[in-house]
């Protein structure tokens, strides 16, 4: 298997002329080389870096460019347009005079993408929202991978009753549709404040969606990890290590974890993309990020009420989600091609 770690201590092979060949590149170096040589990986990676940078700079944009507090209602705010002060919330003066419409995109520093139903700057909120969406999706991905790795490795290596219990637990969680489980957990957790010793988690904390999203996808990663661990456990080099009396913890750490790591890394970008969509969906349904925090999902929800008159409010976060997910998937594809032993292109 191309990604199995070579046993340490073996002699480097000799070339035809009898001279020593340079040591073969390890899987990590090969992965980096592969990524650097792939135009898709470079472009998608660059795109992702730009998105992350933009969201990190959200406070700078809000303070110095838009000069606004995107978390404060601006229903009475005014803006200078063509030398005239205009209200951000435009009251209809025609016909029966019904309706109040927020200002549309100015394409200038202030209200670049217009205002939402609270008179807040959509562009500034989009950047802050992206920050939260990416933090939640990233942290949930990490949480999911760690949990899945622990469960998968323990179940696959220990076998027997431990495997039976853990596998059934995974299957039980798997039996629930992801969104049904996530929404149910959200409803239960959002109404409460959790205090475990010194840890205090309020219902509006971002930790709540991170835990929910992180947990619901654990079975989807833990299952393949378990399968991979079982395969590795029965491979010759692990059997040999066992035969030599090496401690199980050392086998797990030196031989199994490095081989499983590639599987986890292949999952990471895909899972991140999935988590962004899940976070947005939950926030759109009011069971994810809670006000005054914003995420792409909450902005999408804000835009729903303006779909007819100000479609840009919902289109902007929609496009942000689509582009980020697409870039993550493209990057993940390349990564899988390089690291997945079964991938034809990766060979």
């Amino acid at each position: 298997m191309t990604t199995d770690q070579p046993e340490t201590g073996s002699m480097p092979p000799a070339d035809a002329a009898g001279g020593a060949l340079p040591p073969p590149a390890g899987p990590w170096r090969r992965a980096l080389q592969g990524l650097a040589s792939s135009r898709t990986a470079v472009l998608s990676g660059l795109g992702l870096v730009l998105i992350v940078l933009a969201t990190v700079l959200a406070p700078v944009y809000a303070k110095h460019v838009a000069q606004t507090d995107p978390f404060r209602s601006g229903l009475s705010a005014k803006i200078m347009i063509d030398g005239k002060r205009s209200p951000v919330m435009e009251r209809s003066t025609e016909g029966l005079g019904l309706g109040v419409t927020p200002i549309g995109p100015t394409w200038g520093p202030k209200y670049f993408l217009g205002a939402d139903t609270q008179g807040r700057d959509v562009a500034a909120r989009l950047l802050y929202g992206g920050q939260n969406s990416l933090v939640i999706a990233g942290a949930a991905t990490l949480l999911c991978l760690v949990c899945a790795a622990v469960i998968g490795i323990v179940a696959g290596y220990a076998g027997g009753r431990v495997d039976t219990v853990l596998s059934n637990l995974i299957d039980m969680i798997w039996a629930f549709p992801v969104y049904l489980l996530a929404i149910s957990l959200s409803i239960v957790m959002l109404g409460k404040t959790f205090e475990i010793g010194p840890i205090h988690i309020s219902s509006s904390s971002l930790v709540v969606p991170i835990i929910i999203i992180g947990l619901v996808y654990v079975p989807y990663v833990a299952r393949p990890v378990r399968g991979r661990v079982i395969a590795i456990t029965n491979s010759d080099f692990v059997l040999a290590a066992r035969g030599l009396g090496i401690r199980p913890s050392r086998i797990l750490w030196r031989h199994i974890l490095p081989n499983v790591a590639t599987t986890l890394i292949v999952f990471a970008p895909m899972l991140m993309a999935l988590n962004i969509v899940t976070e947005s969906s939950l926030s759109f349904l009011s069971v994810g990020v809670q006000a005054p925090n914003a995420s792409w999902g909450t902005i999408l929800q804000d835009g729903q009420a303006l779909l007819y008159s100000r479609p840009v409010v919902s289109m902007a976060p929609g496009i942000a989600i689509m582009v980020t997910v697409m870039l993550l998937n493209l990057f993940g594809d390349v990564l899988r091609d390089i690291l997945d032993p079964k991938s034809v292109r990766g060979r």
Binding site: S92, L98, A305
Partner: protein
């Protein structure tokens, strides 16, 4: 009271006779014009239905609007548009009741020949059984509207065995029904006019009939009902108009009510002529467009309603009156009106009783220039009160419904509370459970967004219901005094005002105005605005009339 008749002069007699003759000549033509509108099918749409069809159980404005022409009580609100719609007229009773025994006994004489839609004639047995049934099915207003009837206490304690012995006395031979109360209730006729006091056949099962239509005496009857799909309403074959004011015959032959879809889809259907009316309000996003593109199809009507934010007076920081007053000073009520669609659709208020409601006198304590009306927020005063209270930095959670208006108001209040120095958050929960959730003290709700629509035109229906001590039931989902406000002094004044209404309604209204001011001084709630009803109709619908009680009078409209 007897009015003295003035003898008319001979000239006036002649003019009167001529007028009668002229009207007699025109009458057939007028009737023919009315007949010309008879027939056709009215197509109504709504995002969802509202559960059970049982008129003794359902407590929603959507179905009460239908009950107006499906069922009758002994008395009912006049089915006309405008201010007259608040008047109570005789319905299944031949005339308004004789009131005796110091206002504790009401005697009704039943109309003869009124039939249910199953062909059975209505009798005193049906009236007695219907009042017993209100308690047997544990109707939502059994303990509030009808608990003053003699024997109601026993019925509330043991609903299945309810007889209302001594409370409802029928004389079958004379065709009379006498209702005895334990104490005078000047609002009793209003309560009898509510659909919960509809007269149903005596043999109707004493349980919530759910989706099965119960025969009624109205001009129409429900032919089929599927809450997830549609309702078909047709003319009641046994109906014969006895009073145009109480139960008009109606113009259309059939009413098809479709449930499902979205508000956007409903607006499009009406504009395209595929539907005639939508129950839900048009989305705020479409209002500006409708206001210019279809102004003739829009009808605006003021509602006897109140959007407000109850503040829990038993939980910090709102257990300090200065905090409640501070928030009242700080909010920009114009901004809140903007969230609801602008000044054409809502009116900012800083008191409990809605405009043009009994007992209403313009007053506003919480504005930059206190007086008759709200002018601007007074942030300095608000900040000063918060400083004095020493509550700055405390946490506040605002519980809203998951609709755009409620969520928008919650987000705005969160912003104002942050400006005042509080750590505020918004919790949005499903509209299906929010109303009961915020009532239960176990949920420790500090601040929430709610609405109240009048059941009948009496100040007590707002002030006593929402802020009376009897309406506060800790730990219950049915504690409509959401703020948990109970001031014994104000409560006694409210009880006295209710009693005063029996003898001197004008003096009672003046007292209610003062009580309104006293309640607002204690500030258990944030008055937000009084909304208006927006009815969007298709171009073929005519004869629009809006009743304060039933809203659009569907049966009065025509489509041809």
């Amino acid at each position: 009271m007897i009015t003295k008749l003035t003898p008319a002069r001979p000239g006036r007699w002649a003019a009167t006779v001529a007028t009668i003759a002229l009207l007699a000549g025109l009458a057939p033509g007028f009737a023919a014009a009315q007949d010309a509108h008879r027939g056709g099918t009215l197509r109504l749409v709504s995002v969802s239905s509202q559960g059970t069809l049982d008129p003794h159980v359902n407590y929603t404005s959507q179905f009460w609007q239908l009950y107006a022409f499906l069922y009758d009580g002994l008395v009912g609100f006049k089915k006309v548009g405008g201010p007259e719609s608040k008047e109570v007229v005789a319905d299944l009773a031949a005339a308004l009741p004789e009131v005796s025994n110091d206002g504790k006994t009401y005697t009704f004489t039943l109309r003869k020949g009124v039939k249910f839609s199953n062909g059975k004639e209505m009798t005193t047995d049906d009236v007695v059984a219907s009042f017993q049934r209100i308690f047997k099915v544990l109707g939502p207003t059994a303990g509030t509207f009808y608990n003053g009837i003699v024997g109601a206490d026993q019925c509330l304690a043991a609903p299945a065995d309810c007889t209302l012995a001594g409370g409802i006395v029928a004389d079958k031979a004379a065709g009379t029904v006498t209702i005895n109360l334990v104490a005078p209730d000047p609002e009793f006729l209003f309560k009898l006019s509510a659909p919960h006091a509809s007269i149903l056949p005596a043999e109707t099962t004493a349980k919530d009939n759910g989706n099965a239509p119960i025969p009624g005496t109205g001009a129409y009857m429900v032919k089929s009902y599927d809450p997830n799909n549609s309702m078909v309403i047709v003319r009641n074959p046994a109906f014969s108009e006895w009073s145009k004011d109480a139960q008009p015959e109606g113009h259309v032959d059939e009413i098809d009510y479709t449930f499902g879809g979205t508000e956007e889809a409903a607006v499009n259907a009406i504009l395209n002529g595929q539907a005639d009316w939508m129950f839900d309000q048009p989305p705020a996003d479409r209002l500006a467009e409708l206001s210019t593109a279809a102004p003739d199809q829009i009808h605006l009507a003021p509602l006897s309603a109140w959007w407000y934010a109850p503040m829990n007076v038993n939980l910090a920081p709102f257990n300090d009156v200065r905090v409640r007053q501070a928030l009242n000073y700080a909010i920009d009520r114009d901004a809140l009106v903007s969230l609801f669609g602008g000044p054409a659709l809502a009116q900012p208020v800083c008191q409990v009783l809605p405009p043009e409601f009994p007992g209403h006198v313009d007053q506003c304590q919480y504005t930059l220039d206190p007086g008759d009306s709200w002018s601007a927020p007074d942030m300095d005063k608000a900040m000063q009160l918060v400083e004095e209270s020493g509550t700055k930095g405390e946490k506040v959670t605002i519980v809203t419904e998951d609709n755009a208006a409620s969520r928008g108001i919650g987000t705005y209040l969160q912003s104002v509370l942050s400006d005042l120095g509080y750590e505020a958050a918004v919790q949005t929960i499903s509209g299906d459970i929010q109303f009961t959730y915020i009532q239960n003290t176990n949920n420790k709700v500090q601040l929430s967004i709610s609405q109240w629509y009048a059941d009948y035109p009496a100040a007590s229906n707002f002030l006593n219901v929402l802020f009376g001590c009897d309406s506060f039931h800790p730990g219950s989902d049915a504690s409509i005094n959401i703020a948990g406000f109970c001031d014994k002094g104000i409560d006694d004044r409210m009880k006295a005002a209710i009693a005063l209404g029996a003898t001197d309604p004008a003096a009672a209204d003046a007292e209610w105005a003062k009580i309104d001011g006293a309640v607002m001084e204690a500030a258990p709630a944030l008055p937000l605005f009084t909304p208006k009803q927006v009815d969007l109709l298709s171009t073929r619908v005519g004869n629009y009339a809006f009743s304060n009680q039933y809203h659009w009078l569907i049966a009065n409209a025509w489509v041809q």
